[in-house]
């Protein structure tokens, strides 16, 4: 079997389709080069399902995605994802090789994942199409009770002889479904996961809780000015039961990025973005803040805001996120209002406007005044008057 069809049919297509992906030995650089030559085959009829699945994954973000053709960067991302899973393979110790070879595998994988910053939304979307399913990938572990204790088979069937022995001894077993991202990994795998997250700004902004350390939301800020995408982001945040935590994380990342000097990149130690120029214009900052405020508004619409606010967080970033609607009067000349309040409101709009007013007043009772003043001092100049000199 040729390499590219094997990769596509055993790994990429199942990954996008949500079925079972086959993790084999890691791919080499030479094999990657060979697959680049075969990329043209992807337009043939054998790979229609792959292109359709890419489109459907893209439609999960925006309604009418314009995805570019699979290119070497996307292929490198696929192979990098596969190799990350291969490095986490439970049979890794059985492979006859030296430790330095595994270091080379790690190095090659990191090289494959060293992609340039996504310049266009379509490029960023293609990366999210592959990385989004990877972030939610799961694994079924079989745990077999043995006389010596429990033995866990990670994503593998129990060997027949062990199963027969357990049956003879009348020992039980069970299956556990785990989220691969949530289980602990080897250090090199964890670093590679951070690297792969740096390549997809859309994935980081859609799943801020999984964003790598030091991530700067301003990287994805230019894409947040697109109305279709920012709607997906806001609804994704608001749909999450941890929406306050998400808002706090995004707010913390934003404030961290704004507090650093403009000439320094916040991710100088990140290989994927060496010396990246991060946008800090009022438009980009305002896009993130507007999305956060709109998330508040969506929660008010679904009547879930006051319930979620019953727990008072002491985290500063979370408090600042909760305080955002309080500074909306100062931001509204630039960002606008979530609801145009006027005399000619319909019945529903008037009800929503009343709830929004009640919500902001409730936040006023919940959030200390110092937090609001701090927000006015730090965030407001970046949006209304531009970044500090």
């Amino acid at each position: 079997m040729s390499l590219l069809p094997q990769l596509v049919h055993e790994f990429v297509t199942p990954l996008l389709a949500g079925s079972t992906v086959q993790v084999r030995r890691p791919y080499r650089v030479r094999e990657f080069r060979a697959m680049i030559d075969e990329l043209g085959q992807l337009h043939s009829g054998d790979y229609t399902d792959l292109l359709l699945l890419r489109l459907r994954r893209g439609q999960d973000v925006v309604a009418n995605p314009a995805l570019p053709e699979p290119d070497p960067d996307e292929l490198a991302l696929w192979i990098g994802l596969h190799n990350i899973l291969a490095l986490d393979h439970p049979d890794r110790s059985r492979v006859w090789t030296r430790a330095i070879t595994w270091d080379r595998v790690t190095s090659v994988t990191r090289s494959l994942l060293t992609l340039s910053q996504a310049s266009t939304f379509e490029t960023a979307l293609v990366r999210h199409v592959s990385l989004g399913p990877f972030l939610s990938i799961g694994r079924t572990d079989r745990v077999l009770a043995t006389p010596d204790g429990e033995e866990r088979f990670r994503g593998q069937e129990v060997p027949r002889r062990k199963l027969r022995r357990a049956q003879l001894l009348q020992l039980g077993g069970r299956e556990e479904r785990v989220d691969w991202m949530d289980v602990p990994h080897a250090p090199e795998v964890a670093e590679l996961v951070h690297d792969v997250l740096w390549t997809s700004p859309l994935s980081c902004v859609l799943s801020p809780l999984r964003a790598p350390p030091g991530y700067n939301p301003l990287i994805a800020a230019p894409f947040l000015t697109q109305r279709a995408f920012v709607r997906r982001v806001c609804y994704g945040w608001a749909r999450s039961p941890h929406w306050i935590e998400i808002g706090g994380v995004v707010m913390g990342q934003l404030l961290q990025a704004l507090s650093t000097d403009g000439s320094q990149s916040p991710a100088t130690d990140a290989i994927a973005l060496p010396g990246a120029q991060v946008n800090r214009s009022p438009r980009e900052v305002g896009a993130i803040v507007g999305a956060l405020i709109h998330t508040h508004f969506l929660k008010v619409l679904e009547l879930g805001a006051r319930l979620g606010l019953s727990t008072n967080s002491r985290d500063t970033a979370t408090q600042m996120f909760l305080a955002l609607p309080r500074v909306l009067p100062q931001l509204s000349p630039v960002l606008g209002e979530p609801l145009l309040v006027g005399a000619d409101l319909s019945k529903f709009d008037a009800q929503v406007a009343r709830r929004w007013t009640e919500y902001t007043e409730h936040l006023g009772e919940l959030i200390p005044r110092a937090v609001v003043e701090n927000l006015v001092a730090t965030l407001l100049p970046a949006i209304v008057k531009g970044p500090p000199a």
Binding site: T20, R25, V29
Partner: protein
């Protein structure tokens, strides 16, 4: 110059010249007793009637004395004395006494002064002491004093019992017209003369009136009369009873008093239980002008113990006779030729014409086709449309449109006979279904005069379009992608067993890797 005998009491005044006068909580001068001077007996009755309507006479009677007095200067009056001491009660009495044109005084002993009025809101006090005789009653007005001497003492309870009833009009069209049945809607007491009691009892028993009765011996009568208590008696029954001489209807006005229908007692007896002492029951009869006192509360017996049953035979169920006597009348339900025209509701197509029926399907309109049902029988194919198909048989059915086989008509809902025949005798359509023991969704088919009917159950009826249309074979899409729109869920890792192999070939770099 006129001598002024009374002076108004000042606000806050606590000392008075008249003995027995004292301020109450509002500062109004009130004596221990109250004196009501009424000019005649009818005014007294009017006062007592008005008082009993407004409040209970039981509060007034215990302290009440009634005297007939003669005025020293000439003239008579009725003097009513009762307990006082409350200006509120005095105000109420003053209002009622004024309505019957009497005078009201307050005081104690033998001297009474006028009660308060607009000119003296806190009452009056004597200007100078008034001398009264031992058996005199002095009623002091502002400018004169009337002296009364008691001539006769009356018993107010006896007076009330002796009062004659007042007639009141009844509805012209009868008691039944009144929604309340003139107060007899719940309970009516009927006093029946001894001579007609048995007949009245049998009448009420036949009319199934809920009744109970007791024999009571009235004063001056040799035979006991019958007192009946009717519960929720119909108005027509009461009208009949009311017109019978010797029968008196009485409406209960309290637990121990009843007043004859068409009369009313001047006193509201419900609020004057002390007027009716003891545990006797009083029947106020207006027509004869008597008050009957029954010893103790009457113990009523249920009506069935008062009547005599004269039924000697045994009750027979009509069902028993019907079974035994109807047998000679039975006839057979059979088909006979008829010239009556009926709309065809179905067609029995022989199997030889099945191919033609298949071709006729194309000519049947869609509504008729969807409404038609097909039954495969040994004699042929039955195409059925009928009113019993649950609203599907509206319009011209397929049975009328298909010019094949023999036509069938409907003689009863769901009962089909060949065209030109009818069921004889012509019994009701509903009865035909009952005789054939058809369920609500069953059909019956008579195929010929001497052939037994066939029962068609709902599972036998196949939609005609379904039965006659061949199967369409769909192309199992070779052009389609398998799982074209799979669920975009989470992927699962399958760590393929690697086995033992040598890992090599990772020495290269990626410098010239990407195009």
């Amino acid at each position: 110059m006129v001598d002024v005998l009374l002076e108004p009491v000042a606000a806050g005044q606590t000392r008075f010249r008249m003995p027995g006068l004292a301020p109450d909580a509002r500062g109004i001068a009130v004596g221990r007793e109250t004196l009501i001077v009424l000019p005649s007996l009818d005014r007294l009755v009017g006062f007592l009637g008005a008082y009993s309507q407004e409040c209970s006479l039981d509060e007034l009677l215990p302290t009440m004395t009634l005297e007939r007095g003669r005025r020293v200067d000439g003239g008579h009056a009725l003097l009513v004395r009762c307990g006082g001491g409350d200006s509120y009660a005095l105000d109420r009495l003053a209002r009622l006494v004024l309505a019957v044109r009497g005078q009201l005084y307050t005081g104690s002993g033998s001297t009474f002064v006028r009660v308060r009025e607009r000119a003296a809101p806190f009452g009056y006090d004597l200007v100078a002491a008034v001398q009264a005789g031992s058996d005199d009653v002095v009623a002091v007005e502002v400018d004169y004093a009337a002296r009364y001497r008691s001539v006769e003492r009356l018993d107010p309870v006896e007076l009330i019992q002796r009062l004659s009833l007042r007639p009141i009009p009844l509805p012209l069209t009868g008691i039944a017209e009144d929604p309340e049945l003139c107060g007899l809607a719940e309970i009516a007491l009927v006093l029946v003369a001894p001579g007609i009691s048995e007949r009245v009892l049998s009448y009420l028993w036949n009319a199934q009136v809920n009744m109970a009765g007791v024999r009571v011996a009235l004063e001056g009568e040799r035979r006991a009369s019958l007192l009946l208590r009717l519960r929720q008696a119909p108005g027509t029954i009461l009208d009949v009873l009311h017109g019978i001489p010797g029968v008196e209807l009485l409406a209960p006005v309290s637990e121990r008093a009843a007043v004859e229908l068409g009369y009313v007692h001047p006193i509201h007896l419900a609020s004057a239980s002390s007027c009716l002492p003891g545990d006797e029951m009083y029947l106020f009869r207006g027509r004869v002008g008597r008050v009957e006192r029954l010893e103790g509360a009457p113990r009523f017996l249920d009506g069935r113990f008062l009547v005599k049953s004269e039924i000697a035979g045994r009750v027979t169920s009509p069902g028993d006779t019907r079974i035994g006597q109807m047998e000679p009348l039975k006839v057979n339900l059979r088909l006979r030729p008829s010239t009556a025209l009926r709309e065809p509701r179905g067609a029995l197509v022989p199997w030889e014409q099945a191919e033609m029926l298949r071709r006729m399907i194309y000519t049947i309109p869609p509504t008729a086709l969807s409404a038609a049902r097909l039954v495969a029988m040994q004699t042929g194919l039955l195409v059925l449309t009928g009113s019993s198909l649950g609203g599907l048989g509206t319009g011209v059915g397929a049975g009328a449109l298909i010019p094949l086989g023999s036509r069938l008509c409907e003689v009863a809902p769901g009962v089909l006979v060949p065209d030109g025949y009818e069921l004889w005798p012509r019994v009701r359509p509903g009865l035909i279904r009952e005789l054939l023991a058809l369920d609500s969704s069953d059909h019956a088919l008579f195929t010929g005069p001497d052939l037994p009917p066939i029962r068609l159950k709902p599972e036998h009826l196949i939609p005609l379009d379904t039965a006659m249309t061949g199967h369409l074979s769909l192309l199992e899409g070779g052009e389609l992608i398998q799982d074209a729109l799979p669920g975009l869920g989470s992927a699962q890792i399958d760590n393929t067993r690697l086995g033992r192999f040598a890992l090599w070939g990772f020495g290269g770099t990626l410098e010239d890797g990407r195009g």
